[in-house]
């Protein structure tokens, strides 16, 4: 424990944290407060006046079958995206450890997709898997798979998950590589001498020691799947077909800025906020307990 530093001046410490507090207040608490306020207002169709309705918007939203559908879609989408993005990244990171020649180049190339904007990534996959012109769609059809993300909800979901995961793999890869490098080599050697084969070594030594990284990425990837994938969904499916890929964040946008039902949209974003806070809290409360920090 480092000794506590006590400021003799009563005002100075507040001045020092003031810039950080100001940023947090202006960019986080104020919008959040606005959303909260907005979620209890009901506007007339022309946006001329609004009425305070307490929780009526929430009641309406939660009773809406389309919203319940959106929750399910989000759950499937987030879980699949996080799982695919993390497992593929881990596999690549483990493989990258074994690359002898051109390690640096390999790693650099692996990080590139992260620099691609979500909407661009979405367009990329949209073209690749477009049923009429997509390069990969043709291959899929030749392989006998009836591929049509424009009409089939499951196909569309797989497409957005692929695009969203693809973009996040680089980020996860970077952290997994760093995590793997932090594991002392002698531990792996000791395990080898202790008679553990390669697979066993990975699951009994490497994976548990990687837990802090994995946990961190789990939190980050969940938040990513919830919020940052808007661009991909907007570009690839627009929430369709038939709302099969309409995630919560996409519905917030659609109801608020396309359908102009501001009260509903605000109520949804408040619910979304609560869900993510709850999810993060659960992750820290229950999952982190199983994490061993070096």
């Amino acid at each position: 424990m480092t000794p506590r530093v006590v400021f003799p001046n009563k005002v100075l410490p507040y001045l020092l944290v003031a810039p950080q507090l100001a940023i947090t207040l202006v960019f986080f608490y104020w919008p959040a407060g606005q959303a909260l306020y907005q979620s209890m207002l009901k506007e007339d169709p022309f946006g001329l006046k609004s009425k305070f309705v307490w929780f009526a918007n929430f009641e309406k939203v939660l009773a809406d079958p389309a919203y319940v559908n959106s929750i399910k879609v989000t759950a499937v989408f987030s879980l699949a995206t996080a799982l695919v993005a993390m497992s593929v990244a881990l596999l690549l990171a483990v493989m990258a450890e074994r690359v002898v020649r051109g390690k640096g180049l390999y790693r650099t190339l692996m990080i590139w997709p992260y620099a691609v904007a979500p909407a661009i990534a979405g367009m990329l996959f949209l073209f690749l898997f477009n049923p009429s012109i997509g390069t990969l769609a043709v291959l899929l059809r030749k392989a006998g798979i009836a591929w049509d993300p424009l009409l089939d909800g499951t196909d569309a979901m797989m497409l957005v998950v692929t695009a969203a995961a693809w973009k996040q793999i680089s980020y996860n890869f970077l952290f997994f590589v760093a995590g793997l490098q932090a594991i002392p080599k002698s531990l792996i050697e000791a395990a080898a001498i202790d008679g553990a084969g390669e697979t066993k070594r990975f699951w009994t030594i490497v994976f548990p020691l990687l837990a802090p990284t994995t946990f961190f990425l789990l939190v980050i990837n969940t938040t990513y799947a919830f919020f940052d994938t808007f661009g991909i969904i907007h570009a690839v499916t627009g929430g369709g077909p038939g709302k099969a890929t309409e995630t919560l964040v996409y519905k917030v946008y659609n109801d608020g800025f396309v359908n102009l039902i501001l009260g509903d949209s605000a109520a949804q974003s408040v619910i979304l906020m609560v869900i993510v806070i709850a999810l993060t809290a659960i992750q820290f409360r229950y999952v982190e307990r199983k994490v061993h920090y070096g």
Binding site: P184, S186, L187, E189, A190, A191, A192, I193, D194, G195, A196, G197, K200, T204, I205, P208, L209, A211, H292, G294
Partner: protein, 351 residues
């Protein structure tokens, strides 16, 4: 129980650096072989090749008569104690020790009895539930030992296992390792750069330098008859005094006014004597090497004192027992009896 045989083992790294340049050592069953040498002499690389952690570039390593070059460390049935202990940080002491047994499919009841009896021997019984980070350095060292012993392997490998301990603990553990190895009768290879550890532990001492074996044998034989100036200055603390000889008209001498007392062998270029083989003052009537010297510094250690002297342009160290009466600046004579003088040729080899 096993023998370990190395035949002309070489290690060449990808960049062309030769770390081990052809080493042959035969270790009989139940013997403890110590590899000693300065940093970068290839001793650790050699140990890692026995373990299977480094590929062998050429030559063969055999355990129990079977060549193991192509066998993975997993299947060599060896145990290794690492310098940093390499304990699994996410497992408690019990699981650390049980890990190797579980991997080999030992029945649960047997694992339990073996772990507990080993823990008892090493006085770890009360620590079995602790994680490595909750242990002191000495305790971690014991766990690392326990993890090796519990498996009952053919060969123990030690990679500078005591270098992270303080001096007192190191001395204690040194004796314990020796006793354990004796009692268990497991063939062992022990790497260290500490000549004291090397001397006290070894059945077979191997002094290495620049990827080659300089000398191999029983510790005291090496101490008494070092094969080269390198060994002479590496084994024994403080190291042997080495003085270059000058050749004038076919006669070897040290400097003006110094009697060698004997004609050195024809090829001798260096003479050496140990600090403990010299005395201060002159001995009447005995042919001996007598050096006039000036005391430069006195190091009292307690039971003995070291006199750092300047003699005929060289620095000479003399060990005297108890408290030294000499003070810096004092002029005195250093006498070494002739049978305690070692001669080395121009290449540094013993004559």
């Amino acid at each position: 129980m096993a023998t370990v045989d190395m035949k002309d083992v070489k290690k060449v790294y990808a960049g062309g650096v030769e770390a081990v340049k052809g080493v042959s050592i035969a270790i009989p069953d139940k013997q403890l072989c110590v590899l000693v040498g300065p940093s970068g002499c290839g001793k650790s690389t050699l140990l890692r090749m026995i373990a299977g952690l480094e590929a062998i570039s050429s030559g063969t390593v055999s355990i129990d008569g079977k060549v193991v070059n192509a066998i993975s460390p997993t299947d060599r049935d060896i145990a290794m104690v690492f310098q940093n202990y390499a304990l699994y940080p996410h497992m408690n002491v019990y699981d650390n020790m049980a890990y190797g047994l579980r991997n080999r499919g030992t029945p649960k009841a047997e694992i339990d009895s073996r772990v507990r009896s080993t823990a008892k021997v090493l006085e770890l019984a009360h620590l079995l539930e602790r994680r490595p980070r909750e242990l002191s350095g000495g305790q971690r060292q014991r766990v690392a030992m326990g993890r090796a012993i519990v498996r009952n392997p053919k060969v123990f490998l030690f990679d500078e296992p005591l270098s992270n301990l303080d001096a007192k603990l190191r001395g204690q553990m040194r004796v314990e390792i020796k006793n354990l190895q004796r009692n268990l009768g497991v063939t062992s290879v022990y790497v260290t750069h500490d000549q004291l550890e090397a001397m006290t532990l070894a059945d077979i001492l191997v002094v290495m330098n620049a990827g080659l074996v300089e000398q191999m044998g029983a510790p005291l034989d090496i101490y008494e008859k070092p094969a080269s100036t390198f060994v002479a200055s590496f084994i024994g603390a403080p190291p042997m005094n080495l003085m270059a000889l000058k050749r004038e008209g076919g006669h070897a001498r040290l400097a003006e006014g110094v009697t060698l007392g004997v004609e050195p062998p024809a090829t001798a270029a260096t003479l050496g004597f140990r600090p403990e083989d010299a005395i201060v003052g002159q001995v009447e009537g005995k042919r001996a090497l007598v050096l006039p010297a000036v005391v430069e510094a006195v190091e009292p250690v307690g039971a003995e004192s070291f006199l750092h002297c300047a003699a005929t342009g060289d620095r000479v160290l003399v060990r005297v027992s108890g408290r030294a009466t000499a003070k810096p600046g004092d002029k005195l004579s250093i006498t070494a009896s002739l049978d305690k003088i070692h001669w080395f040729d121009a290449a540094g080899k013993r004559v």
